[in-house]
């Protein structure tokens, strides 16, 4: 797995912001003169929402029909209904929640340790030229090692216990958070820093009021990359060796040819990934209320 490169901080924000705002910016593909400039907002959005569900529903129907007629053997891909029943059984027996809790705890622990360190080191090298000279070169070198390549070494160090999994996840989330925090602090507008200095801000006040808030958009981009890396590493680590967790659940099910449970596990990973991404987006909205992406159309003149 490759560590992500540094993106422009604004890009994901734009993506999330445009979702609800297309109809407010009719510049692209604007209707010809004479037609109504702003169509009613709800209608096209509802229609496009329904359209986007059309293909998944069709696929699901095809899948169900193929399974029911026996074209698709249950050994290859069980029917949607039986996947649903497998999920329900696991939920009722409590196994589902136990494995889910174990996996989530691993992910969060790894994220807190690796992400916290990445953030701290990023702040350090971003704010101090000395720390940058001392550390950044080394970190950039280590970054090129894919974290899954460490698996053999990690097994030698930690065995196959919890530490090994948490360590791998921590390594996986460290670099995206480090890179984007460092980049974020460094790319804060120099003219704002000069202004703040001329108003007597220095040291911690300058950091708290200018450098950190200016870096937050980039840090949040790093967090979203880190979340992606977190799930990927978790899946690999749990497939490797585990006594509990979603990975253990699916690996065991594979050995007993319980394809429906394998599918439940796969879908769970997808849902967890989606949930984490939504939480990150929520965090963006909470932390960046000032960002133009989250504001109503600016008024140009009083």
């Amino acid at each position: 797995m490759k560590s992500p490169t540094i993106p422009l901080p604004v890009r994901p924000l734009r993506i999330s912001a445009n979702r609800g705002r297309d109809s407010e910016h009719p510049t692209e593909g604007a209707p010809p003169a004479g037609t109504e400039r702003r169509p009613p907002r709800a209608a096209p959005r509802l229609a496009s929402g329904a359209t986007s569900w059309l293909v998944p529903i069709l696929l699901l129907l095809t899948w169900e029909v193929a399974s029911a007629t026996g074209i698709l053997p249950a050994r290859i891909l069980p029917a949607p209904g039986s996947v649903w029943r497998a999920a329900a059984d696991l939920a009722i027996s409590g196994d589902l929640w136990r494995h889910l809790a174990v996996s989530a705890a691993r992910a969060v622990t790894g994220l807190l340790i690796g992400g916290g360190l990445g953030f701290a080191f990023g702040i350090l090298t971003g704010a101090s030229r000395f720390a940058e000279g001392l550390l950044d070169g080394t970190v950039q070198m280590l970054r090129t090692i894919p974290n899954l390549a460490l698996i053999p070494l990690v097994i030698v160090w930690f065995g196959i216990g919890e530490e090994a999994k948490v360590f791998l996840i921590a390594v996986g989330v460290f670099f995206p958070l480090y890179l984007n925090t460092y980049h974020g602090v460094r790319s804060v507008d120099q003219s704002l820093i000069e202004m703040a200095r001329s108003y007597g801000l220095g040291g911690t006040a300058l950091f708290r009021q200018v450098l950190l808030p200016g870096a937050i958009p980039s840090i949040l981009v790093g967090l979203r990359f880190a979340l992606g890396s977190m799930w990927l590493t978790l899946i690999a680590a749990e497939a490797l060796a585990a006594e509990s967790g979603i990975g253990f659940m699916t690996t065991t099910a594979r050995e007993f040819m319980q394809t429906d449970v394998v599918l439940v596990g796969t879908i769970l990973y997808a849902l967890l990934g989606k949930l984490a991404d939504s939480l990150a987006k929520l965090l963006e909205r909470r932390l960046l209320p000032w960002h133009t992406a989250y504001q109503p159309t600016p008024t140009t003149r009083p």
């Binding site: 200095r197 108003y199 960002h291």
Partner: protein
């Protein structure tokens, strides 16, 4: 400007301190960037409460002069004194600097940006009262809760002015603060600056490329060429001044001729 006065009935200084003004003394001030000599042995005195404008061709060192007074640059020779005290490092509360761009922190609301100009550690209610007063003075009494991104260019520069004047500084340094504004907004801001200067009595040093702006606002206009002051033109017109007046036009002619002859 009627709306401004009505917005702020008690148009005294924004703090409880009596209006104060600083003197500025430059002695054989020199500044070089590498091999390039920008200012050479420049000496200049500014009286407390005086409004001095500096004009010159671009690259003549007028902005550098201002940045040296603000302590944002270190001179290669000579001294800068504000109120008799030599400037070392950032000048701090003795002077406030307004830039060509507003430089508001986008993650702070308008009143929090203005609060940057006030000493830290004030009680919250007092702080809010002072920032609201400062915003009323620049004609933006109702935008204090907005994010800077929602303001127009002229409004942002007004907020920057409120921030600069919030603590009633004895010296205001203006680095082409109106250069990026449209003509109408610029004219409004010039009137606002003139009014606030007359009310508060601070010393003002304005760097501009707009000759008319210099003559409208300043007691004295300096022309800088080849790193030194080549013209020191007192502007004895009564205030408030009018853009269309014949006297102003005559002075403008004189100044423009000198400016065009500079560097020849």
């Amino acid at each position: 400007m009627a709306y401004r006065l009505s917005a702020n009935p008690h148009h005294s200084s924004m703090t409880d301190q009596p209006p104060s003004a600083a003197s500025v003394t430059l002695q054989s001030l020199s500044k070089a960037f590498g091999d390039r000599q920008v200012l050479e042995e420049l000496s200049l005195g500014i009286e407390p409460g005086e409004f001095v404008a500096v004009v010159g061709k671009s690259g003549c060192g007028k902005s550098t002069l201002l940045r040296l007074v603000a302590g944002l640059e270190v001179p290669t020779g000579g001294t800068v004194q504000v109120d008799g005290k030599p400037v070392r490092g950032v000048v701090g509360n003795a002077a406030r600097l307004m830039f060509q761009d507003a430089r508001l922190l986008p993650w702070k609301r308008v009143h929090e940006n203005v609060a940057l100009g006030l000493p830290p550690g004030l009680p919250r209610a007092r702080l809010r009262q002072m920032t609201d007063n400062a915003l009323a003075q620049v004609g933006l009494p109702d935008r204090s809760g907005d994010w800077p991104a929602l303001l127009s260019g002229g409004q942002r520069q007004r907020v920057a002015l409120a921030r600069a004047l919030a603590a009633a500084p004895p010296l205001l340094l203006l680095d082409e603060p109106l250069g990026a504004l449209d003509a109408l907004t610029r004219a409004e801001m010039q009137d606002l600056l003139a009014d606030l200067w007359r009310e508060q009595g601070f010393t003002a040093l304005l760097v501009t490329h707009d000759v008319e702006e210099a003559l409208l606002l300043a007691d004295r206009v300096l022309l800088i060429d080849n790193g030194t002051v080549t013209l020191n033109l007192p502007v004895l017109l009564p205030r408030p001044r009018h853009r269309g007046s014949a006297e102003l036009a005559a002075l403008k002619e004189t100044l423009l001729t000198a400016l065009l002859g500079a560097g020849a």
